[in-house]
């Protein structure tokens, strides 16, 4: 599968993310000969355990994320970052999870689900594909963040692609820096081996990268007041 880097926008201290930045980033993609191809959407579900007693809630992992990826809507990925777990399931598992909530157990436990969408346009630059997306809570237009996917189609080995991706990231940063935006994109590389994944890139790798940036998305969206 093609290698993908997930980047998220890191605003300069004291600034917030807004739609102006989003449109500048999109224009930058077009300025380096990116051909706009269509829309894409990734859905992130944040699961939070809820129960009457806080002690029970604390036993459950706090970083439990469900991810539905644009290129494979039939699959659903569940990641618990703290324990380095990633599971690939059919998308029908969401139905099972809902039904489980109403299953009576000794401890009544519900999961509160917050849905967040990452959606935007995708651009083709030869063998590279760039996706620029805004992070919005479901049923809302408030911009919480900007996420980008940077994909290189000819290679599927994570190690072998490192130099090419790093170089392209640099090229991209250079192109963006000409627009003097208040912030920059950041790429954090997760340790895939910890999750038991191989060097061959797959959708689980993407899911883990998304899970990694969710902490940042949640943090920045809670700090800033919602802005358009």
């Amino acid at each position: 599968m093609p290698i993908k880097w997930i980047l998220h926008w890191h605003p300069n201290p004291g600034t917030t993310v807004n739609t102006q930045i989003l449109s500048e980033v999109s224009q930058c993609a077009e300025s380096i000969n990116g051909v706009k191809e269509g829309r894409w959407k990734t859905t992130l579900s944040f699961y939070k355990a809820m129960a009457r007693e806080q002690s029970i809630v604390n036993e459950f992992p706090r970083d439990f994320v469900g991810i539905s990826l644009a290129e494979q809507p039939g699959k659903y990925f569940l990641v618990i970052r703290g324990q380095r777990l990633v599971v690939e399931a059919e998308s029908s598992i969401q139905m099972i999870m809902e039904k489980l909530q109403s299953y009576k157990t000794r401890v009544a436990l519900n999961f509160e689900v917050k849905l967040t969408l990452v959606q935007g346009n995708q651009y083709q630059l030869g063998d590279f594909q760039l996706r620029v997306g805004k992070v919005v809570p479901m049923n809302s237009e408030n911009l919480r963040g900007i996420v980008m996917e940077m994909e290189y189609v000819p290679i599927s080995s994570w190690e072998k692609s490192r130099e090419v991706m790093a170089d392209f990231f640099e090229l991209w940063q250079e192109a963006l820096s000409k627009r003097s935006l208040p912030g920059h994109f950041v790429h954090n590389e997760p340790n895939f081996a910890d999750y038991g994944l191989s060097d061959q890139y797959g959708m689980q790798h993407t899911a883990i990268q998304y899970a990694n940036i969710t902490a940042q998305i949640v943090a920045t969206s809670q700090l800033q007041p919602p802005r358009n």
Partner: protein, 408 residues
């Protein structure tokens, strides 16, 4: 394609970018028309030349042979002129963005719908609607553009050693470097099996196999082509029986009738070389693909779906032509060795600009250095040590398309 009524023919534009779109369209139309006429002139000239040559060849001492010779000389200079003019028009069209893809990729394509030429030659009028307009929609612009494209594609395919600007210029000094392996070593490798086993020892991780033609076609079609295939499963399936066929059963005649050689460097490339007659050591075509690619287009004359490998394949065809013409007896060994120099395709910086990725001006794409020099001098390497051989292969320089020139 929607076009306004053509204004009267314009003078050659000093700054095409400054003109209004309808005028640019009209100029492009006129230039394409001129190009069409020049191509017709070239064709007629070629016919006349051939006729004259046949005549002189049959009756060398005929009274008219002197006249014919004059005709040939005159025709030759006329042809040169046509080709020069054609090239000039081609450049103008490229600059205005008509001939390359960059205009199409710009969001403001003159405010007009840019027709899309599909790979099979069909012209689609509205690229964004992906409708098939059919022949009625193909305008003069589209047809001439198709003709020009077919012209250059065929020239590139059948005369790959003719670089775009080298037809009229004297033979330029080629970029030459010492051979990466010694002649004595190569001389010992007589059969395909010898060559491949030697190569596998030299290049770490390389998997080399031979196939008969039908075998290869079956294998190519069975290779997983979708990016969504589970990668761990597919690598298990690729432990193909024929991988070790030529090694474990040397007495089998299958290796002798090998017609296709596959060089797989996992995670980097898969190169296919076809041999002219099955069982010979004469290569006649080479192509590069991504190791994850699969399908019936995976053969020595096929084209990869990825731009980077398409460019490498094009360059490889030129290298092959050079090896066949300059070192015919060792063409296969040299080719196989040269192919393996691409093990550094995604890591080696360009020897000219020092960067890994660069935007290619002609295609508007970001590419790694896809060119490697193939013009070797006869200086032999002095050492036969294996570590030095490995180093030699990695010493072959890499260049971006724009950084590579024949006479560096």
């Amino acid at each position: 394609m929607q076009q306004p009524a053509a204004p009267p023919p314009a003078q050659p534009p000093p700054a095409p970018a400054g003109n209004a779109p309808p005028k640019q369209v009209a100029q492009a139309l006129e230039q394409l028309g001129q190009a069409g006429r020049l191509i017709a002139d070239v064709r007629l000239g070629a016919d006349r030349l051939l006729e004259a040559l046949f005549f002189v060849a049959e009756k060398p001492h005929h009274q008219y042979s002197a006249k014919c010779l004059n005709l040939i000389l005159k025709e030759e200079s006329l042809m040169r002129q046509y080709l020069v003019n054609l090239r000039a028009i081609g450049r103008q069209l490229e600059e205005s963005g008509v001939l390359n893809d960059s205009l199409r990729s710009r969001s403001n394509s003159w405010g007009l719908h840019m027709p899309l030429v599909c790979p099979d030659g069909a012209v689609v009028a509205y690229a964004w609607k992906r409708q098939l307009a059919g022949q009625a929609g193909a305008s003069a612009v589209d047809r001439t553009r198709l003709a020009l494209k077919a012209f250059t594609d065929q020239k590139r395919q059948f005369f790959p050693h003719l670089a775009d600007d080298s037809v009229l210029e004297p033979a330029t000094k080629k970029h030459c470097c010492p051979l990466p392996i010694s002649y004595e070593e190569i001389g010992d490798l007589k059969t395909v099996s010898d060559m491949l086993s030697h190569l596998e020892k030299e290049v770490p991780n390389l998997q080399a196999c031979t196939y008969q033609r039908m075998e290869w076609l079956k294998r190519a079609s069975s290779l997983p082509s979708s990016a969504n295939e589970n990668p761990t499963e597919s690598t298990k399936d690729l432990s193909f029986p024929s991988t070790s066929k030529w090694r474990e059963h040397p007495e089998m005649h299958a290796a002798d009738k090998a017609a296709v050689i596959e060089l797989l460097l996992p995670s980097v490339f898969r190169a296919i070389v076809s041999l002219h007659t099955a069982g010979s050591v004469d290569p006649d075509a080479v192509a590069f693909f991504s190791p994850d690619e699969g399908g019936s287009h995976l053969h020595a004359r096929g084209f990869s779906t990825h731009h980077v490998f398409r460019h490498v394949s094009e360059h490889a065809s030129m290298a092959l032509q050079f090896f066949i013409s300059a070192h015919p007896k060792m063409a296969l060994q040299l080719l196989l060795h040269w192919v393996c120099s691409y093990q550094t395709l995604f890591v080696k910086m360009c020897s000219k600009c020092g960067k890994l990725l660069a935007m290619d001006k002609q295609s508007g794409l970001v590419l790694p250095p896809v060119k490697r020099p193939y013009c070797f001098t006869s200086a032999t390497s002095t050492s036969k040590n294996s570590p030095t051989e490995k180093c030699n292969l990695n010493l072959i320089q890499a260049f971006h398309i724009g950084c590579f020139s024949e006479d560096t």
